[in-house]
């Protein structure tokens, strides 16, 4: 029963992906994927995030849908954040993703 249910979900997901590709709808609208806009290595804009997990001078952990984003660097600071967007400033050395 659970296998059948699992297959059904997989089919829906596949259909979703196909429909998105065919209709050329942005993936962030359908799947809620986060968008990272990097300006050099001094500021990064993060959209579609869920919340701040941990914040430090050297790294910031942010949770997104099915992802955890880790921004590593020096003198990191959250310039502002709201429901839609977050701006992180400082010297960014590395951005890594972890599936949650």
């Amino acid at each position: 029963m659970s296998r059948l249910f699992h297959n059904k979900i997989n089919l829906i997901e596949k259909a979703k992906v196909q429909a998105t590709d065919r209709l050329k709808i942005p993936r962030e609208l359908v799947f809620g994927e986060c968008i990272l806009t990097l300006h050099g290595n001094h500021e990064v804009f993060i959209e579609n995030y869920k919340g701040i997990l941990e914040c430090n001078d050297e790294f910031i952990w942010i949770s997104a849908k099915e992802l955890r984003i880790c921004i590593e660097g020096r003198m990191l600071c959250v310039d502002y954040y709201n429901n839609d967007e977050m701006k992180v400033i400082g010297t960014i050395n590395q951005i890594s993703f972890m599936e949650s």
């Binding site: 919340g51 941990e54 600071c77 959250v78 502002y80 954040y81 709201n82």
Partner: protein, 403 residues
């Protein structure tokens, strides 16, 4: 702009610490409480938050077991609260704002453009006659009436536009240059030709007018050479009428010119050492305020440069800002022999000849006398020069009555 509105609303810089500050941040975000400049600090975070939101976070603090400490109070509400007892200051501030508003109701500057023959002073005089000057209330200015008046007063203005831009009256005009040149011709229509130097006339050709002298005549400076009055005689040789014309002709006069020069055998020269200092000057009319004192030298030249500080184009404010350059020099003495001294005089004379040549004066003859003295050599040169002469002078009443 955003920071300005934040300043107006008033915000606090706080330090958040405790069990779960991250959860607190997320809770604030979910409840649309604006937080910015989040910096990690010791065990928690420091950030800015609006004063109004500070009272809404009590529940979140309890829920997340965190505490908040106010570090700084920023913004206009706090500033006003801090200076609430300084009533005179606020009164002066209000007065200042009111006076600023009041001054904007008056005219404080003029801009004139498009004029070619009529000077700006003429337009300023016109405005003065129309009772428009610095400090005239703007609502008293009727621009269309002024345009009409200006066009009526000056025929050769084909188009005029007055415009009030803030506290400035902008006048744009278009002048008809054709009529003016016609008028100019009329004023120059009758004139005499007079001698500008004393001497003997060697050549004379009269095109228009009555010649009063001839070749070989000795004339002195100011004498009329060709008169602009042409008498018309009756049959009995009495004057019927006198026509006025513009006298025209070519006159060449031979005259004497004296050139005198001397050269000392001992000459002092200034040798600049290269050391210099500057002194800043702020001046109001004749009163000078020295901003910076220069280094002291034994012998120095001063070169000054001043600039008028003017806030508006036609508004003269007698405030100068400038500097004086103090350039140090030492005296050196040079001893010349007779030949060298003569050579120096000769150089200067050649320069003088060059300037004469540029003026169209031709040297015919020269007599040179050299006089050697104990400490100097003196040179006297008598030059005979030939030059074309004749200056236009308006016909005077004396000449007319004399004729």
């Amino acid at each position: 702009m955003l920071s300005f509105f934040r300043y107006l609303k008033g915000y606090v810089f706080v330090y958040l610490y405790g069990f779960s500050p991250e959860r607190f941040l997320n809770l604030c975000n979910n409840h649309h409480i604006k937080i910015w400049k989040v910096e990690p600090y010791e065990q928690g975070y420091q950030f800015n938050i609006f004063v109004s939101d500070l009272f809404r976070i009590k529940d979140f603090l309890r829920k997340t077991k965190t505490k908040v400490v106010i570090r700084k109070k920023l913004g206009l509400p706090f500033l006003l609260y801090r200076y609430r007892k300084r009533k005179i200051f606020f009164l002066c501030l209000a007065l200042c704002a009111f006076s600023l508003f009041l001054t904007t109701r008056f005219l404080w500057s003029f801009e004139i453009s498009g004029n070619r023959t009529l000077t700006k002073d003429i337009y300023m005089d016109f405005l003065k006659n129309e009772n428009i000057f610095y400090g005239t209330p703007i609502h008293d200015i009727n621009t269309s009436e002024l345009e009409k008046q200006l066009r009526n007063q000056y025929d050769y203005i084909t188009w005029a536009s007055f415009q009030v831009n803030g506290t400035r009256l902008v006048l744009t005009v278009k002048e008809n240059s054709g009529i003016i040149s016609e008028a100019g011709k009329n004023t120059e229509s009758s004139c005499d030709i007079c001698a500008s130097v004393s001497g003997v006339i060697t050549k004379m050709v009269t095109r228009t007018g009555t010649p009063l002298v001839g070749v070989g005549s000795i004339v002195s400076s100011g004498d009329i050479l060709i008169s602009g009055l042409i008498p018309v005689y009756n049959d009995d040789e009495t004057i019927k009428t006198i026509h006025k014309t513009k006298a025209d002709g070519d006159i060449v006069i031979e005259s004497n010119l004296e050139y005198k020069d001397e050269q000392l055998f001992r000459v002092n020269h200034k040798l600049y050492t290269g050391r210099e200092s500057r002194k800043l000057i702020l001046a109001y009319k004749d009163h000078e305020f020295h901003i910076q004192l220069p280094e002291e030298y034994e012998k120095y030249d001063i070169m000054s440069q001043n600039k008028i500080i003017s806030f508006e184009t036609y508004q003269y404010v007698p405030i100068y800002l400038g500097y004086e350059r103090f350039m140090e020099y030492t005296n050196t003495e040079e001893i010349l022999n007779k030949d060298m001294a003569l050579c120096r005089i000769n150089d200067r004379f050649l320069d003088f000849c060059k300037t004469l040549n540029q003026k169209g004066i031709q040297i015919i003859k020269k007599d040179v006398k050299i006089n050697y003295k104990k400490d100097r050599v003196e040179v006297l040169i008598n030059l005979t020069v030939r030059q074309s002469d004749g200056i236009m002078m308006p016909i005077s009443n004396v000449t007319e009555s004399g004729e």
